[in-house]
């Protein structure tokens, strides 16, 4: 008997893609994530452009994580030209990235995933019965956007973050206001953890998973890092990102797939909490226990819980950054000068959905000759297919509709961003 589940258009995720699963006599014969999002060939479009034109163009890969795309891109260019921005710039950039993390996680958790767990089809429908939850979610989302606006000059596609620094640095007054908002937001986030903890998160997608995340040398949990560590215990330098991802073109999708040593792997909030969770501060660790992430898990649906943990982490980290900036005394510095030269530069950052790599080569005049961007969703696709396969196998007997709901939930748990994966 043949059964096939076709999801034409996956909803409540960003971008255009579908899923095809076919089961024949209880055997899973096909699992394909069909990414039909249009390809813009952005990596090819930037070829020939001047180095400073690249970050704003590649920021357009994705709106939700435009801040982290921008910062990673800036870092990759600076890496190629061996330019080190000031400590203040680095702090402000991190603030921007953390703001993006808060916004993206709040959007996904409260608006896109929460409806699943509570049985609604949209945040709008959810808001009718759970106005408080949605309000808190929107509040946190707004907080993330306020940070991005303040530092980046715009919530989507920041304009103020440029090579070597910032066009304008936020004033002390503005940072103090921001800190106040963050402090308020922290309370709400901690309260929200309680409601997330009350959710009954099912567990139907267990399958052996290899996690990967950036690791920094610091003792603290971070979205920055110069090497990639795996749950297998292995690690690689960021500069060997090609070996880590081993991108291949697959016939059924506009997005490429990644495998490390032949195995799919997962990046994102859950991977980070699994691999770096021990570095979280004690308050955030408590939240981690509450949400059942204190020990190793391969239940991908818990990625949403990991996002809740990271919202708390990011807010606390933002407050820390602001304190540091204020302690140092915020200086009205101009961006450091960039001297272009031929060479190659690579940078990686933890985007909300996992590790993001930007790698460029330049000629003498600072014109880009090659650009390579690997996004987290692209890295996750192979792992998602692996999870769907396990799911379909375990629930081969279930009705089509039942299967469909489960598949969609798993897909959404990854918080996939399809624009990113194709670009």
């Amino acid at each position: 008997m043949q059964k096939s589940v076709v999801i034409d258009h996956l909803c409540r995720i960003e971008g255009n893609g579908g899923i095809n699963v076919a089961i024949e006599d209880g055997r899973v014969v096909k699992v394909e994530i069909d990414i039909f999002e249009g390809a813009r060939f952005l990596e090819a479009l930037v070829v020939g452009r001047l180095y400073y034109e690249v970050p704003p163009i590649l920021s357009r890969i994705c709106a939700i994580c435009s801040a982290v795309h921008t910062v990673t891109s800036l870092m990759a260019v600076e890496d190629a030209f061996e330019t080190e921005p000031s400590a203040q710039t680095q702090l402000l950039r991190e603030l921007l990235v953390q703001g993006g993390n808060i916004e993206s996680h709040a959007l996904h958790l409260f608006c896109l995933a929460l409806p699943d767990f509570l049985g609604y089809s949209s945040p709008f429908a959810l808001a009718e019965d759970y106005p408080q939850e949605v309000k808190i979610g929107l509040g946190l989302k707004k907080l993330g956007n306020t940070i991005q606006e303040t530092v980046g000059g715009r919530a989507v596609h920041p304009v103020n973050a440029v090579l070597g620094g910032f066009g304008t640095v936020p004033t002390k007054k503005r940072l103090l206001e921001l800190k106040q908002e963050l402090t308020k937001g922290l309370e709400e986030a901690l309260a929200a953890v309680e409601s997330v903890a009350r959710l009954r998160i099912p567990d139907f997608s267990q399958s052996p998973t290899l996690y990967a995340a950036l690791a920094s040398s610091s003792e603290e949990y971070s979205l920055f890092g110069d090497k990639v560590i795996f749950s297998s215990g292995e690690s690689r330098k960021v500069s060997s990102y090609r070996e880590i991802c081993n991108e291949t073109v697959v016939p059924h999708s506009h997005a490429k797939h990644s495998h490390f040593k032949g195995l799919p792997f997962m990046v994102g909030a859950l991977a980070r909490v699994m691999l770096n969770g021990h570095k979280l501060d004690s308050e955030t660790k408590k939240a981690r226990e509450k949400l059942g992430l204190g020990s190793f898990t391969e239940n991908i649906l818990l990625n949403n819980s990991a996002q809740a943990i990271e919202i708390i982490y990011s807010i606390k980290r933002c407050i820390q950054i602001i304190d540091q900036l204020l302690k140092r005394g915020i200086k009205n510095e101009k961006p450091v000068e960039i001297r272009p030269k031929a060479g190659q530069g690579t940078a990686a950052l933890e985007a909300p959905r996992g590790i993001l790599y930007h790698s460029y080569s330049f000629d003498n005049a600072g014109r880009i000759t090659k650009a390579d961007v690997i996004t987290p969703t692209a890295q996750n696709l192979a792992n998602m297919e692996k999870d769907f396969r396990a799911l379909a196998h375990n629930f081969a007997g279930e009705s089509k509709d039942g299967l469909r709901v489960k598949i969609e939930m798993v897909a959404r748990a990854y918080d996939p961003c399809i624009s990113c994966s194709v670009h």
Partner: protein
Amino acid sequence: MSKPKIGIFGMTGCAGEQIVILNCEDELMDILKVLDIRSFHTAMSKNDEKCNLDIAFVEGALVQPEEEISLKEIRKRSRLLIALGTCAVWGGVAAMKNEVSRQRLKDIVYGSPGRIFKSIPAQPLHSFVKVDFSISGCPIEKEQFLQAVASLVHGDIPVLPKYAVCTECKINENTCLLLEKSELCLGPITVAGCNARCANCGIPCSGCRGPVEEANIASEVEILKEKGFTLGDINNQLRTFAGPAEAIQTHLAKR
């Protein structure tokens, strides 16, 4: 008056416009009070794919033939079709090298042939269907979107300023980056509405909102050449966001 039935659709782009709509955190509940959202894939799983709509908001450019079909379907079922964002209005970043063959671009990005997919040079919506109103911006400005929704709910076609970014920049009393700092600023030919965001930060306008009506590209190019920019770099900047725009095409076609 019953709530207008609307749909929010995405062609190819970064989803910036949909994100800006979701970024209306404080207004979202009020929007729901006045609009009946029937289709919004990014936020809802139960979408009505058939019903007639009063307004379709469409973001993104068209880069593959399938999109033309779905856009025409949307047009057919909608009373008003509103283009949201620079991609939908002008083609956006995807259209910056429309003169290069798609196969070449595909080769650069995908190398060995992957899925055989068709790709067309990126085009704005109006190349395929009638567009009733456009809100440009990469991404659109929240305030303009909300203003437009308010007007539409009232039954009016919205009005947005048609003048150039310089006007807003002057009102904000920014030091002129073009004149005083000799930077490549497209403010004089870019349509306002962003409140001169970039120039407010001391960053030259990159033209992300697309050209003003009757943009005097020739004069702008002359000014920039005098400042020492090469025609090639000026042209690159001009085509970054709004390559397909007629004014820019006309300029590029010269010689």
